[in-house]
Amino acid sequence: MEITERALWTLIHGMGFGALYLLACSGGLVGLYQLTASPAPESTPSRERFVRTYLLIMVMLAWASVLIGTYVVYPWYRAAPPPGTTDLSMFPQRLLMSSPATIGWHSLGMEWKEHVAWFVPISITMVAFVFIRYGRHLGNHRQLRAAVLVFAAASFVAAGVAGFFGAMINKYAPVQGGHTVQLIRGEAK
């Protein structure tokens, strides 16, 4: 079982940090909602500490995903082929743009994804900061709490958009190349 170096980085970016962030979103939203409800009978210092740690992990996942996506994977995606290249399989952006059936995955999908994904770390960093600053007392500031929950939900939507288009783009024009990494040595049965 082998994978190319570029495919491995794409996997770490999307299936690793990105998917983990999406999985963490629902838990983060519920934890934030419950712990800051006013009155909040379930608010205890240990629960508050747990949600704080949970949000900080979400912040790290979000930053890791966008930084690897933008500075490691995206350059391989947008690489320009040398003149005369006919096999575009190593140039995903150009491969998508070469057919009317797939051009939308770049012109709409990637163009939106590459920007909207950055709303995720900005929003969740703010959410974590506000929660760390106010803790369970956030429930005493209803308007502040409502805005924080909206931003947390918006980060979920933005991550969903980025994740959906990332998965579809990688299906039609996978980022590949580089050294081959052997994950497991298979055996015939």
Partner: protein, 115 residues
């Protein structure tokens, strides 16, 4: 900006909403800055070239770095000004949510390409 947060119940801890609102508004400003920089980069070849901070990533490097700088700078200024204040949360949240909604719309290519 000094009107008290009406949601604050009697006996609540003396934590002002200023730092929280500063974080919310600056996050929205950062998202909006990203959308505006992305559109400017698409509209002008000169700006597009200027936004190339890291050649392999192209203008996206400048768009995102610029937006992060705007976000952090705005946050630092607002936090400094509002750190001990109770500010008008309703108006600030409305502005922040409007900026966030506009950011989503402006980065959506069929809308962003209209400019």
């Amino acid at each position: 900006m000094n009107s008290p947060d009406s949601s604050l119940p009697r006996g609540a801890p003396a934590l002002t909403n200023g730092p929280g609102e500063a974080a919310i508004l600056s996050a929205a400003v950062g998202c909006f800055a990203l959308a505006v920089l992305a559109i400017l980069g698409d509209q002008s070849a000169l700006i597009k070239r200027a936004l190339v901070f890291y050649t392999p990533t192209g203008p996206l490097s400048g768009v995102t770095t610029g937006a992060i700088l705007v976000w952090l700078f705005t946050w630092a200024i607002l936090n400094w000004r509002w750190r001990k204040k109770t500010v008008a949360a309703g108006r600030i949240n409305a502005a922040a949510l409007l900026l966030l909604a506009l950011s989503f719309l402006l980065t959506f290519p069929p809308i962003g390409d209209l400019f």
